[in-house]
Symmetry: none
């Protein structure tokens, strides 16, 4: 399970029974381990994702994140300029990982309808393997604001995704496997359908994700295919 990479202080595999004066029942002492920069950053980002996924953006205080990571509060600010920076980097790193997880083993040279069906299936699979990431990224993207109150992320950040999908759709149209339609509207709709699916299966755990993905592929391809 992705959630168990060893960031939880309570499950720390070798917190010893440290000699601390007069608090023998208190929480385990911190052995002050020294880690490489990248490892620490990843650990803190992972804790951020988990805390946000669980308690929402507002509940993700620096305190909660540090506690979840099993580090001291002050350590956060050695690796991130401030909380905004931490959240921003958590999103950026996690989105990259999600994109990789979708793109992996996806044969983009296959017939376009096959690519689309496979992509939907892979996206659906994320709900099982990256539940916290999906939840957290959603929260942060919707909540993070710059100092002047404007959203830190907006749909402009989706532009690259839209363009890639439009390219795919256009190839399908040229190859004759897709009928003519407005590719931008279709890209936005496609992305919206994926996001809706992920939100739906996240809050309806009894739903068969694979079946949903297949049904969604049927619905979308029925609208696209010639």
């Amino acid at each position: 399970m992705a959630a168990a990479r060893g960031e939880d202080a309570l499950s720390d595999p070798d917190a010893p029974g440290e000699a601390r004066p007069a608090t023998p029942g208190g929480p385990a002492a911190a052995p002050r381990r020294r880690l490489g920069e990248d490892v620490r950053r990843a650990q803190i980002i992972r804790a951020t994702i988990l805390v946000v996924a669980e308690g929402g953006f507002d509940g993700a205080s620096a305190n909660a994140i540090a506690a979840r990571a099993g580090v001291s509060k002050g350590l956060l600010w050695r690796y991130f300029a401030d909380k905004h920076d931490l959240m921003r980097q958590a999103v950026i790193g996690t989105v990259e990982a999600l994109r990789d997880a979708i793109a992996a083993e996806l044969d983009l040279t296959a017939p376009v309808p096959d690519v689309i069906r496979a992509a939907i299936r892979r996206a659906a699979a994320l709900s099982g393997t990256h539940r916290e990431e999906l939840r957290a990224v959603n929260q942060i993207i919707h909540s993070l604001r710059t100092a002047d109150g404007s959203p830190a992320f907006d749909l402009g950040d989706y532009e690259g995704t839209y363009l890639a999908q439009e390219t795919l759709f256009r190839r399908g149209q040229e190859e004759g496997s897709l009928r003519p339609f407005d590719t931008r509207v279709m890209a936005v709709t496609y992305q919206g359908a994926i996001d809706a699916m992920l939100a739906y299966v996240d809050s309806h755990p009894q739903v068969d994700v694979g079946a949903y993905a297949d049904a969604l592929a049927d619905v979308l391809l029925a609208g696209m295919a010639r």
Copy 2:
């Protein structure tokens, strides 16, 4: 007590179970409620929507809301139990208004494809008439949490909407205007496509909303119609 009106779900705008003293008329009767009270509540909710739409959920302090409403800070808590209650009721009231705005003049007895196309157009029109409401409701729904950290709203609140749409789709299938498909998946997808459209046109002001709505209707109906 005035602070406890409208209880649980987006689809339940008229929940009972509160001590509203002796109001034996129907919900449309507005019996003994003093006008000033409802006006004040609406005024505060309106201010809440505007402040949230502008500065996001986190930026919507009670101070800012009271100032925007032109009332004193203390007055908020005469009409709402606490900030959570204020936000919840702002969503409930506004969603109701949005639903009314879509449903108005919508002839549900018309042929199903016509209903769908009309509904998409009406939803798109909201981006011009209810921009703040759409933004604010989105913010609050994504951000509001209960005391234990769990989301205050979830997709369960969409259940009523899904059921209504499924009913419509099923009639189309029975009448032969729509082809067979999983109505729940289609309902979720349809709603996701609408939400994606609204978000897209909100952050891309130069887009022609009507044209987008028509293109979306084309895309969706191509996937649904026989």
Copy 3:
């Protein structure tokens, strides 16, 4: 004594034996008195002066100031934008009070040497009546910095004082009671001598302030008078 205007929470004349659960020996409860804006500001500034005079600029935390004023921490920020603003206003208000205390009953039309001697005496008297103010203002002026690290006060703020003294000196020179000298250098020197006196008697409590003032007047006038 100037220090006993009733700002000290512990000496609050009517803190009652409040019914607080299970802490019958703790500090007296706060009756939440409501005060006019000017009174509160003066009270907080007074507390600031006392805390700075006693523990220095660095020891004057917002916590310490609020506690000394007998108010809650948060109240400070209703009356002052931030700590810098609080310190700035404390200096401005106190310097004005000090200047008034020196200027009062000073007959500026008297012969110049008499004015100078009287002014030195009055300044010396401040060491008895405004000890905390003198200490605190000195601390803050030397310590307060703007966000970019540059001093918040500098000798430019003395310019008005220098000009006034130069005017006085020049009158003395025109009237023939003072000999020719560089009035700017004399103004700076005069001010330095006053400040040195105040610092000296502050840290040497056994010194006879009046005698020092007379001796200083002798020394300075010997250098000035024709």
Copy 4:
């Protein structure tokens, strides 16, 4: 241990009372101290002076000082017990250097008025050669506090300076070059005038320092000389 050198007062640069293991030479012998150590200490003190002069006492974090000195943060505490110790020793060492710079080439056997005039000129010259030192020492002396909040330096540390000046003044009075006056008051005033001059020229860079020094000597000697 090297971290505890020079103890208490500005006028006492060689205080004993610390455990320096087995150094039976006189204070001028520099017996077993390794050269590298003193170089490091001087380097760190120099960095401290520069950082304080530039950003003030509060802006002089251990981080900034270490960075300016080009050493690691942890190294500071090998040479100084804590930050208070570092600041104290920076003052002590720098004041000693400043005193040397004034005393150098000063012929104390010359006629007293000549000595005074020369001393004023030399002090004025410091504003060109030791600007950072003057600023930093001023900052630290005014800001440094002991753990209980009382000033770490006070005018008692000037006592040696006052005594030396009084001795000089008294010789002048005995020799007939100076008229009778209170030598302690004159010493305090003289020092105050010097400090005021240095502060003034520091914040008024366009002033001709030499001319100021001559004018100040005129003013002071006019008050002292018979």
